[in-house]
Amino acid sequence: MAEYSRLASGQTVARGVDGQAAGQTAVVIPFLPDFIEIYNRTRAVAGAGVTRAWWVKDMGQGSAFLDTFGTGEQFIAPVGGTSSGALVSGTGFSTIQAGLSLQYGPTFLLGGAGGIAKTSATQLTVTTTANHNLTTGDWVTFQNLYQTSTTGMQQIAGIPFLVTVTGATTFTISWVGNSSNLTAITTGGLNGLASFKKILYPVLYAPHVAYPWKIDIGTTTTIHTTAPHNYVVGQQVGFRIPAPYGMTNLNELPNTTLPGFPIYYYVTAVTDSTTFVINVDSTLFTPFTVNNTFLSFPGLKFAEVVAAGDVNTGGWPYNGGDLYPSPRFFNGFTSSTTVGVSTINGPAIYGAFSNATFMGFIIGSGVGGTTGDVIYWRAYMHDINYP
């Protein structure tokens, strides 16, 4: 009998940084499986790595059995358990229900060897003492970025950032890293408390508020955001730029030419998940700056851009799959900056407010192979389980 069971199969591509071991790869299905099995075609052809892995619910979240080419079967235990050989516990499979926002991972202290370096005009580089276990495309937010009681980077604490992983203990974020009012964090910050949290489900509804860190002035205006904006061409957006950030000219209000009515702009091009162009000549605008003083951080308002509507009449464009695709968003579960993850709720107008909640399972870094690997998967939810 299989009256209430659920069966699903499909294929996915291991997510992460090109040429490196894959990070976490999410698979969206309309139920919570109690059995998962994957076959890694790329690893089998290469004759190296995890070619097959499987999981049953009773093993616990984060665990897995795996078959590594030339090694044979091994076991990854849940966090805190004992795994085979040098395998890292908790890096197997887990199920996921992304339905409620404002959920975060544990506080991750940068540690004594950790810090944040002022890399360049476009980047800050975060170094952790222990492996950060992040994947490119994850979102994080920082806390306690004191170097001394009066210096550090508290100006960026609380802002969501997209992560680009550059190594097991390093990643970069987009910001004006050479701002004179930022002081590099070293030795884990004041009292070793400098830390970040991973934002578990950063995009459950889209489009949403985004945080500009750089605005290029010109006959059109290019906005760079700290994390994916999820806007599309034709999106109507409004700005709230507090005075310390300079370019208040962009603000919705006040409107000196039509008092009381908000000023909106349209997105004319989307360069990537964190960059878009709007239809305003900002040549004579006050330059945008994020160089706020450290001591101004208590109560510091952030510069924001919000979706206010759209001018589109058609649905999402055909991309080789469904004729009428669901909206696609950069939801923290893709390493791509150009192709988002499809939602599960059918076609919608391009730029509409959409629900992006989902459930499914995560293929962990211990079984996910190498970035770009082709993985076939099966997932079951059985009628009955005898624990």
Binding site: Y104, K197, G299, K301, G309, N345
Partner: protein, 322 residues
């Protein structure tokens, strides 16, 4: 003498079920309260579309005596789209449960499903507002965090912002009365806050906060209303959004949603919303063993006036100890 006790002649049935079920702790659901309501028509596609005309330029330039008409204006409009989504949950109940259990399982499971459905409706709105509405970090408090705890200046700032944005207030004021300990209440926006902030609100008594109990009359106060500060009336709920440990100093961040009329719209699907579905065991397998009880509904939501809503983010004055 032999005394017969319950030790040697105990009751054959030891337990008796109390006549009423115990209450189920359930948060106050405030978000649906402040939403406009729109029904998406059946056969109307996947996406609900709103249209707002843009204001026309007031003709402040005099015509003069030339007899020439000024340039014509081109009316324009803004469009907001929201995609419908469907939700549901249910229970599969074996007939033996229904047959043998002493209390009305189907009745109370139906009730719980209905409450779950209503709570989902509210939580979806809550999380959507967290996602889509812009924020103001509180800076009027004294705890040197970002955001700070709430100071009365934060209430003033956010009300000033909404007023400047020409938002519509929800409530007209309450005129003062000759009643000891009461004071007049201003016309107000609503602020949806966490119950965890109530002690901070109490701390503002005397410097702007007026408890709901100190209103001249409670006639217009909502059940969840805790009080008011200046032009803001505060509704509290234990399910109001809190981002744990993510302030600049690692404290909890509270999303206090300050909202005017028409800022958020809740969209239901005409002819579909709030279905409670009971399927007799007859419809299960060949032996008709399992009944099902389920709920499903459709919902979309949109910020229909982005200038009339702000999430006032704050921390607390002191760590919460419960």
């Amino acid at each position: 003498m032999s005394i017969t006790t319950t030790g040697n002649l105990g009751p054959m049935i030891l337990q008796s079920l109390a006549p009423a079920m115990l209450y189920v702790p359930t948060p106050t659901m405030n978000y649906i309260t402040v939403c406009d309501k729109v029904s998406m028509p059946t056969h109307g596609g996947t996406t609900c579309r709103f249209m707002r005309p843009r204001a026309l330029q007031p003709p402040t330039i005099q015509l003069g005596n030339s007899g020439i008409d000024p340039p014509a204006q081109v009316p324009q409009r803004d469009i907001i789209d929201a995609q419908m989504a469907f939700f549901g949950t249910g229970c599969i109940i074996n007939e033996q449960v229904i047959l043998q259990d002493q209390e009305g399982v189907l009745a109370w499971v139906s009730e719980r499903l209905a409450v779950a459905m209503r709570q989902a409706e509210d939580l979806i709105l809550r999380d959507y507002i967290v996602s889509a509405a812009s924020t103001i970090n509180a800076g009027g408090g004294s705890n040197a965090d970002n955001p700070t705890n709430l100071g009365v200046s934060d209430f003033s700032l956010v009300a000033t912002t909404l007023d400047t944005n020409n938002a519509y207030k929800f409530m007209s004021g309450i005129e003062g009365m000759d009643r000891f300990g009461t004071g007049p209440v201003r016309s107000a926006y609503f602020m949806l806050s966490s119950t965890e902030l109530q002690s901070d609100f109490d701390g503002l008594t005397g410097s702007g906060f007026l408890s709901q109990w100190n209103y001249p009359t409670n006639a217009s106060a909502l059940p969840a209303e805790y009080g008011s500060v200046y032009n803001i009336r505060i509704l509290t709920s234990s399910e109001a959004p809190v981002a744990r440990g993510v302030s600049a100093n690692g404290q909890d961040v509270y999303y206090n949603t300050v909202v005017g009329k028409q800022a958020v719209t809740h969209i239901n699907q005409d002819g579909y919303s709030m279905n409670l579905i009971y399927r007799d065991p007859y419809y299960s397998g060949m032996l008709a063993q399992n009944a099902t009880l389920a709920v499903k509904f459709a919902q979309a939501q949109a910020i229909t006036q982005d200038t009339a809503i702000r999430n006032l983010l704050s921390t607390r004055l002191a760590s919460l100890v419960i």
